[in-house]
Symmetry: C2
Subunit: 332 residues, 2 copies
Amino acid sequence: MPELRKDPVTGRWVIIATERANRPQAFPAPVPMRDEPKTCPFCPGHEDQTPPEVLAYRKEGTLPDQKGWWVRVVPNRYPALSPVGEPARLGDGMYDLASGVGAHEVVIETPDHDANLGTMEPKQIEEILWAYRARCIELSKDSRIRYVMIFRNEGQRAGASVYHPHTQIIGLPIVPMNVKEEISGAQRYYSFKERCIFCDMIRQEMRDEKRLVEINDHFVAFAPFAPRFAYETWILPRFHRAHFEWIEQHEVSWLAKLLSSTIRRLQATVENTPYNLVIHSSPSNVDVGPHYHWHMEIMPALSTMAGFEWGSGFFINAIPPETAAEEMREQG
Amino acid sequence: MPELRKDPVTGRWVIIATERANRPQAFPAPVPMRDEPKTCPFCPGHEDQTPPEVLAYRKEGTLPDQKGWWVRVVPNRYPALSPVGEPARLGDGMYDLASGVGAHEVVIETPDHDANLGTMEPKQIEEILWAYRARCIELSKDSRIRYVMIFRNEGQRAGASVYHPHTQIIGLPIVPMNVKEEISGAQRYYSFKERCIFCDMIRQEMRDEKRLVEINDHFVAFAPFAPRFAYETWILPRFHRAHFEWIEQHEVSWLAKLLSSTIRRLQATVENTPYNLVIHSSPSNVDVGPHYHWHMEIMPALSTMAGFEWGSGFFINAIPPETAAEEMREQG
């Protein structure tokens, strides 16, 4: 079973996932820009090359783990966490560890090997978002899981190791440090102002306009005030919502439209940008009250994290967000 | 002038360094494995291609900014921070910013274009470490500078943008979040145990031996208990010392020997590993008392930071540190 280990100074957790060393390559080289559908484990007709599906949206009358799906969710063949076992904490002298139980799933977003979020129809993106929500709700029922992390790596510089469009979902037995820090930051603001910090941010961005990328009835996309990365863009629900999985059907369609057009704007501004997309939401089954506001962060991978960033936690960004947003707005 | 901006939720700082967009490429592609000495701005004879030197160890009788040096320190031509100006803090609605004053220097480690820490003589590494110390002391005299960060990026996947061996030094007007978190983690441990957490770690590692890489009279190298990266290795002074720049002459030679052999072991274990090396030390001119213990972190860049790591702050590592240390010990 994988092991979770905690750095005693910073409290940062690490997954020692020796199972992943069994992957065809322990340190997968950045994946080629395109591989062949005939060897792709995520392409239709190759359903037997993945573990059995846990969810699929498929044509009526088709069988599980057969062709006929348009979105398919399967366990990761090289999981970072083990689906069986009990969560346990133990010590080793001054050090702390925990058993690596949890879930690691893959959302195969489309049967189309060459699609991406910028080329898919918003209707397809809606289906994908709906699958995220369904798995998030399902995984949250497991009392061992404290946090569900949904993320997407696009392109080799962003760490994708499979070309076919997909998203990963990891159910963690521990609320991650970054999530705790965000929530406690939002809580500090709330105790001072008695307002949600993200709601205030949305108000200021809509008034200032200079960092706005696009807005619709339910969602807003803007370049954050202090972006770590050139062309970093956040998408937030305009009305306060703590949990992603509380999204409603009509909202999903507004989100799909905005996500589709934000990615299209980004890719028109910087061609073929590799990027990471991460959903920041509240821990499973925890009512964080009025403090926290779920959102998506889209982080283009145009530069490499190096010694300065690792050491300081500071980031250096050569493109002011006002410039980035203006360029993205112009790509109508 | 570059601008420092603070993320209102997490408190993370970002440098908006538009000057760096003037570099030959705003997003430098990973650098080729080797460029030609005749076009290298850091090679001897090309001293006029860098700003004037602020320190050099050179043959007696040779002139500044001429040949004859064996270590040379110059301001970065594309600095992330501006050397002139006053530190100032201001607000923009709910957001906070600060003026980007500080220092950004480059230590050209050797005249030899093709050298690296694994091939240099320990005597040369001693001279480099001595230059780090001298610049650290000098920059700390500037009351605008609160923290001096010393780091080295080796190889394209580790973010190096120049091939010739060099180290960067950045003097920051703000103590970085990562440094604050490490110091407060160490302080929490100290208030509970009344012992330095790093001294305890050294004792446990020397007793357990399974994560030890090498040890000498004054320094120890081991794989940390919760390494973010495969083959991550830390080097610590065996006797408590809060500030790197308090290192003494005889200690520098022990450190140079251990650093040289650790890098040689790493590169014999994983050929041509790209890596980041960062010195973690106490803030300038601050007596952190018995809590904090300076050290070096060597972080091989074998995998890419992706959505999961960005979102969670968790890291996934397929090589247990006990395995990594054993492999490195065998490369005697």
